[in-house]
Subunit: 285 residues, 2 copies
């Protein structure tokens, strides 16, 4: 059996009882290590799961799926994913490959950022399409995702922005020279995302467009959702560019305009105090 | 501490290890019993959790929150929710009440239908606003949710339809006579939802409107997501009105038009064979 097991969002104990039992039955256990991270490292997971974990990067999952699936028809193999297994499209490809090879599979679900963002009080059913915000470079500053934010806001729906993760990236120099030397991982912060968004707003004004979002648009920054030291801050997009939410992972929500009174009241638990860019009331997990 | 703990979607073992440890620390444990159900009953949960569960219906949660929260500042109290705690708005109200009473709270997340629907292969980030489809009566046949389906389809996003659950409902007669006698629980099936949708399509045609959805629109029916006997069927809305997915809970997805090749390929695993209204290939969990 090939198991795709969600690990949830916090630490080793966020796996489900069913997931843990499956992991401990498996002869090989892979840990997907490029779409998200937990607050604890591989060693902590290995100790708790009582299994050695094989780190699987994007290359391996996308190009060497058959290695991962090897013998899963005669023994049990697990593929662990932070959050829920269907957060990333590459995982669907693994299921399709397993099916083609005649290997039975089982999915053990868990919380992912897609549903856990509900903890800020915004109602999940009122979210529109999700967008990803990538790190800009000097020469590549994509703005196209902003159209979807606009549509969501026109429909009165919130936008969850998933923020970029760069793991196992090579510098241009190392890439050219074919050196397998990787840069340290980078995780986009709410500050960085907000700064890029503010730049898009400016660009739209320069082009004479009416921006769907302004400096004053109500946003919610979330950090380490599901972990003990989770932080949530509600404030304007401008405030998001300076609020201190601590370490990764971060996510950003752009609200959809009119809020339900219950949403307003929940967000008020996390409102950034005026005249404060450093400290803010933040919610416990 | 007041714990809000998600139970996931399948059975007793879909709770997280962290959630189980918290439950076993608590002096009082409530089970929210009106927005969703697991495939196992209260007794099975009690045996596995090693705790007596107090069933909490909508009335109690909404009107007697203070009873639930009583002494949670000096002892540990848990409130268990099928899926994730933030699936329903009433649970935000409990958090707000706890905060007002100065009671610290902790949320332990889990999978919910909002993210677990990804198992059918449709990409989660491409879902628009979620809608609820309620049981029609002879005199009340709301169609307003259909506007949101229309908007989603115009934007090329999928619509997750949450199907009605009637728990602890009184007949009109018993309501009038003040008799606390309750009807057996009812869970809307994909068939029933599709039949109501088909009627809306007909009504729109009669009114001369161009329906956003037709008999031929590609839909996905899901039953008991996350359970061992999960079933998924992909086909037209017309097919959804007769496909047999077995017992509750059911959910329905109306696709958003153009699909990614990977979405198409995943759905093909679950396609209802032609000339078959009874049997279909359905996916393992």
């Amino acid at each position: 059996m090939f198991y795709m097991i969600g690990l949830g969002l916090g630490d080793a104990k966020d796996i489900t009882v069913k997931g843990l039992e499956a992991v401990r039955r498996c002869s090989r256990v892979y840990l997907e290590a490029y779409t998200s991270v937990l607050t604890v490292g591989k060693e902590v997971l290995e100790e708790f799961y009582e299994r050695k974990l094989i780190l699987a990067d994007r290359e391996e999952v996308e190009q060497e799926a058959d290695n991962i699936l090897k013998d899963a028809d005669i023994s049990d193999v697990a593929f662990l994913v932070v959050g829920d297994p269907f957060g990333a499209t590459t995982h669907s490809a693994l299921i399709l490959r397993a099916t083609k090879l005649g290997i039975p599979y089982r999915v053990i679900h868990n919380a992912s950022i897609m549903n856990a963002v509900g903890c800020c009080g915004l109602q999940l059913y009122k979210f529109g399409e999700t967008v990803s915000i990538v790190f800009w470079t000097d020469t590549w500053k994509p703005e196209s995702f902003f159209d979807r934010v606009k549509k969501n806001r026109q429909n009165g729906t919130h936008t969850l922005c998933l923020l970029d993760i760069k793991v196992k990236e090579q510098s241009v120099e190392n890439l050219i020279r074919g050196r397998k030397i990787y840069e340290p991982p980078r995780y986009m912060s709410v500050n960085q995302a907000a700064q890029q968004l503010l730049e898009i707003v400016q660009n739209q004004r320069i082009r004479g467009e009416e921006p769907a979002v302004t400096e004053e648009t109500l946003c919610v920054g979330l950090a380490r959702v599901g972990a003990e030291d989770q932080k949530i801050a509600a404030g304007t997009l401008q405030q998001m560019s300076t609020v201190d939410l601590g370490g990764p992972l971060h996510s950003l929500i752009i609200t959809g305009g009119s809020l339900h009174p219950l949403e307003m009241e929940m967000l008020s638990l996390f409102t950034i105090p005026e005249n404060s860019s450093e400290s803010q009331r933040t919610g416990g997990p």
